[in-house]
């Protein structure tokens, strides 16, 4: 049974990705494009030269973190749709610290990163608290928190950080994650040290979940709230903690954008979509930290490669969004895929 389950957790994402790419090819054929040219362009766009490889890794970085943010909360049975807002506040806080404080590199950079994580954590704390104390469903609260984050952050950029400008000044060099070394190595891409932080965060999540009492309790609450309570665990505390840590991961994703990729924050007309893509990442990665890293890399590749598709094969970049949406559907409908695969296996015997 266990080995069967492990096989399924591995097979369903792989199967879903292939199915998604297959349907993508069909869509290209129907729209009159050549799917081989289309996917070749996607491959070139993601791995064509050192520059695109650098950009692919850069794009993967925040996706790992938002994926972790959603996967971590999932382990406690919570659905964190609020990664989107947590990214924005994390981004804002890290850039704010990056601009406002004057300190040597060794203090400034960690402080700015920490600010991002704390801001994201606070944004996760609110829905966690409401869920723990009042039983309010976290999905709706986090959605609302997303919009509050968007509008409040835009307002702060316009009227506190700048004088009605749409973009802040750049952060001090002492708070920057940008790296001349990485950038030169990849033909001036925007690749920055953030990827190391993202990978480290994945290890942290693995460590918390698998190797600590806190992680054990968080998982237990996710499996069965009532049994955990009966066993003497504080369910409410664990729910809040889970949301705060999840928010912290998402806040870090924002800090990666603020301190690494852009070096500033701009007024946003809509969401970054990092949080929503994180849902896809967590789902495909089966809420496992290493699965999340791989899934983030896949989506980073698809999204970066998509940029080459219009010029290389005439295919609109949105094809990749359609493919990602389909992959989510397939993974989410695993009930039916599981059933089909089992059926198939049985008949094979």
């Amino acid at each position: 049974m266990t080995s069967n389950n492990k096989f399924m957790t591995f097979m369903i994402p792989v199967f879903s990705v292939f199915l998604g790419l297959f349907v993508g090819a069909i869509i290209m054929i129907i729209s009159g494009y050549n799917p081989i040219e289309g996917y070749a362009a996607l491959w070139r766009g993601a791995f064509g030269d050192a520059y695109t490889i650098g950009e692919t890794i850069r794009r993967t970085t925040p996706l790992i973190l938002t994926g972790l943010a959603i996967a971590f909360a999932f382990r406690t049975g919570l659905f964190n749709i609020g990664a989107e807002g947590q990214v924005i506040v994390g981004w804002l806080a890290s850039v704010w610290v990056g601009i406002a404080i004057d300190a040597p590199f060794i203090i400034h950079l960690p402080l700015a990163i920490l600010a991002g994580a704390i801001a994201g954590g606070l944004w996760g704390f609110v829905p966690g608290l409401l869920k723990a104390k009042l039983g309010v469903h976290e999905v709706i609260v986090t959605i609302m928190m997303n919009y509050i984050a968007l509008h409040v952050s835009n307002n702060i950029i316009r009227s506190v950080l700048t004088d009605h400008a749409t973009k802040t000044e750049n952060i001090a060099d002492t708070a920057s994650l940008a790296s001349d070394f990485l950038s030169n190595m990849t033909l001036n891409s925007r690749l920055h040290y953030g990827i190391l932080i993202a990978l480290f965060a994945a290890v942290i999540m693995w460590f918390i979940i698998q190797r600590t009492t806190i992680g054990y309790e968080l998982k237990a609450v996710g499996f069965n709230k009532h049994a955990s309570k009966y066993a003497g665990m504080k369910v409410g505390k664990n729910i809040i903690l889970s949301m705060v840590i999840a928010g912290g991961f998402a806040g870090l994703a924002g800090a990666m954008e603020g301190l690494g990729t852009f070096g500033n924050i701009h007024v946003m007309s809509g969401f970054t979509n990092l949080g929503f893509d994180g849902i896809a990442v967590a789902l495909l990665g089966a809420n496992n930290p290493f699965g999340v890293v791989m899934a983030a890399f896949l989506f980073g590749t698809l999204k970066e490669g998509a940029n080459e598709m219009p010029t290389g094969a005439g295919v609109p970049t949105e094809l990749v969004d359609i493919i990602i949406a389909l992959i989510i559907f397939f993974v989410a409908s695993s009930y039916i895929i599981r059933w089909a695969l089992l059926r198939f296996k049985k008949e094979g015997k």
Binding site: L130, I140, V152, F276, I279, L319, I322, I328, S333, Y335
Partner: protein, 316 residues
Amino acid sequence: MIDLLQSLIPTVLFFSAPLILTALGGVFSERSGVINIGLEGLMVMGAFVGIVFTLTFQDSLGSITPWIAVGVAGIVGGIFAIIHAVASVSFKADQTVSGVAINMLALGVGVYLTKQWYGKGQTDMVDGFFRTDIPILHKIPVIGPIFFEGVYATSYVAIIIAVVAWYVLYKTAFGLRLRAVGEHPMAADTNGISVSKIRYTAVILSGVLGGLGGSVFALTIVSNFSHSTIVGQGFMALAAVIFGKWHPLGAMGAAIFFGFAQSLSISGSSIPFLDGIPQIYLLIAPYVLTILALAGLIGRADAPAANGQPYIKGSR
């Protein structure tokens, strides 16, 4: 004061019509026990279809085009919602995840087709609905000029549909069954009600209403389709569903209130007693109020009992 109302009320109604329609869709879906985060995507689909239809046929059909376009958008929205129904009812997928996927899919498909058909990321502008005077009613003294002069007819269509939705949900056998399925699917099943049939119908209805809402939004407020035509209106409609406590008329009231907040954030400075309030508070008001409502600070909002749970026959 009358001048003020006369400028404010049509604007409020104008902003709230799409929210009312979409929120009603949310009410149907959620009352049957299917969470619908995908309202945003359904609106995107509606907006896309509404604009494309109007662009294609406005020369041959003339001024009636927007009305037909809205109808077609409703139908396509309903068909599109079947994906959500299949995933969340038949395949027992996590309904929130499926809704998120609907949002991504709608935007992807909409912009993909726009680029393919028009060769650019956004469509041309269309002639959508225009402000009109409602016949006869606008002649009523005082009330007439405030409510019925220079308004969009769509606003009143939305309000009428809300009343119809209330009637359907609370006064018909179908409505009773739908609510029963949302509260206790097993009990409903035992009484011979097909849970999946009701849930399919409800989700498709939410698609129709979401499609109507999206197309009305596009044809009255934005006039073209691009990736930024619908940004958050679907989620605001979802907020209206909850703030209105899953009741059609409540959702309508909440939608009108949110429409009010939206129109104030755009034209707030012209109103004497509100000009001191920074725009930011009006922008976030709908969301903050929804959280407060959920937290029980503004009356308790309880979701239908079986909301979000796939029904698997024979399981407890």
